[in-house]
Subunit: 336 residues, 2 copies
């Protein structure tokens, strides 16, 4: 009996240790801010409340994991899009490099203006010129060759304002939001007007979004055996334009289910937010408003790139959250 006393004391001590020790999850919840680069305020509260509401079992807004689908535009929403879409910068560099093999480009628009560095004139050609340039930077290549070409470009090209590689110009607050959503059982998808294969080269490293969760514009391709090797060859023909009303179609084709959260930054994202937020149950639509001319760029209603006008007009009525980049984000980039 006497010998049992220290054993009982030890057992009580062990039980008390176990019951007092907080789990790792509890510790993280109380001590760590999941969105450290979002300033305290109503935007951050709306986001955190939505995630808590949809992931707390028993809450009226609770969603099973299979319904936790969030979609994000890319250009101007996850990374910068000024002074021109980064994919256009890639395509221009590619076309200049390849121009010796294409003497006809010197005589035909939009290539002529491009080779003469008259980017303003190129942009006046609108969507049609943009698509032609993007297609010329793909066509005839195998999918592997294209990946390598983009990857090599990212290793060497730098942004004219920051002098940093383009794939460092991603928004740190958005990376945090993507991570926090995934930690709460959400699947995160990109739904961008940009080229699907262009984004897939670097999106996994930048955002931890795998290639099969990237949706974008695409050109047609064909399957062929070349020198005994099966390859995918890119063709100079538009397959799908993932912008405006194309975004809900792209979502339907690739995801097959209406997401519950959508984030964009321009009127090209209007229909995506409209489609997502019109569904039943809890919904959240967000627009990133570029208000920070010092740390990034300030533009909206009159911008050629990323024009945001109708979205601003209708945000209140649609109950969409407008994120003010200048006041809502503590840091914009996490540039090394």
């Amino acid at each position: 009996m006497k010998n049992l006393i220290p054993i009982l004391v030890l057992l009580l001590f062990l039980v008390s240790c176990i019951s007092k020790s907080p789990t790792l999850t509890e510790q993280s919840k109380s001590e760590t801010d999941p969105l450290p680069n979002w300033s305290e305020g109503s935007s951050k509260s709306v986001i955190l409340d939505f995630i808590t509401k949809t992931t707390t079992f028993g809450n009226a807004g609770f969603l099973p994991e299979s319904d936790r689908i969030a979609v994000f535009d890319n250009d101007g929403t996850l990374w910068s899009e000024q002074p021109m879409y980064f994919q256009l910068a890639y395509a221009i560099d590619f076309i200049k490099k390849e121009s010796t093999n294409h003497p006809e480009w010197k005589k035909t628009e939009p290539f002529k203006s491009l080779l003469e560095d008259d980017i303003k004139h190129v942009m006046e050609g609108g969507e049609k010129a943009l698509v032609e340039i993007i297609m010329a930077s793909h066509a005839g290549m195998t999918s592997e060759d294209f990946q390598k070409s983009v990857s090599d470009w990212l290793d060497s090209a730098t942004h004219p304002k920051t002098g940093k590689p383009y794939n460092q110009m991603i928004y740190q607050p958005m990376v945090e939001l993507l991570e926090y959503l995934r930690a709460n059982g959400y699947k995160t998808f990109i739904v961008s007007g940009g080229g699907i294969d262009f984004m897939r080269v670097w999106a996994e490293k930048a955002y931890a979004i795998p290639p099969y969760q990237v949706i974008g514009s695409s050109i047609k391709s064909k399957y062929e055996i070349v020198d005994g090797e099966p390859v995918i060859i890119k063709l100079p023909e538009l397959n799908f334009f993932d912008d405006k009303g194309g975004k809900p179609i792209g979502i339907h084709q690739h995801i097959g289910k209406r997401p519950v959260l959508a984030v964009g930054n321009s009127d090209g994202d209007y229909e995506m937010l409209q489609y997502v937020t019109a569904g039943e149950g809890p919904r959240l639509g967000m627009l990133i408003h570029h208000t920070d001319s010092i740390r990034e760029y300030a533009y909206d209603r009159n911008s050629h790139i990323g024009k945001l006008s109708k979205g601003l007009d209708d945000a209140a009525q649609n109950q969409w959250l407008i994120v003010d980049m200048k006041s809502d984000w503590k840091n914009v980039f996490n540039i090394k």
Copy 2:
């Protein structure tokens, strides 16, 4: 000092308990067969060896989780496809039900033969007739209406041979393989000639494959606001035919990365297996050979549905595994 002895004894006992107790994973590995409906033999060994090799850190064939992508045909690979593709059975029932609203169908093929129950004549119309029938069973509906229509059909229609709902006629050994791959960090995708939206209605429940991991043939659609509600409306125009050389294209469009494991059952899967197994590193191509006329169906070279001829000819040279349904599978279905 005397009091410390029982404490030390207790501590030794606790340490010995902890070190001896097998973890749950070890227990499962030693006591549970992950593929209970696969007979012991070379097919099962090849599959288990491939999964072990690609998921054992330090092994020459080890793959990071981001590369563990497996693709599966559906009709004849994950569920039955006889005596006709199940989606055709759905479309026939739909067209018969809708025929009063379409008097023109009585005069035009392939609808005329279909309404006269002359399915043999319908099938003689080949791919073109099939596509017309499938499209007629979608067009003009919203994506939600179509989902409901398929779901209602599955609740009432039964297979002519077994008398069971079509979505119970899934192959239990394949369900086990899908589960075991996922337990080992693989992502599982369907890549089928069947309709993408038809499969998405029931694939998550049947195979635990979410809608965004289903790839299939599709018709075009448009985004519209109807009575104030944003909807996706299906159009009577083919968007993508996910068969033969279309399968690698569908994989490239949706996954954006070459998978390492592909399973099919017909020559329509030839290019998918060719594309997947030609990549570098460890690869596995498998063809399900329908050899069981008693428990399922026996067919290959001369079948109109699921013809398998070139695949059988080239399997050895391509190092593809031929799974013999009769001898390799202990049970075919898990019918309730």
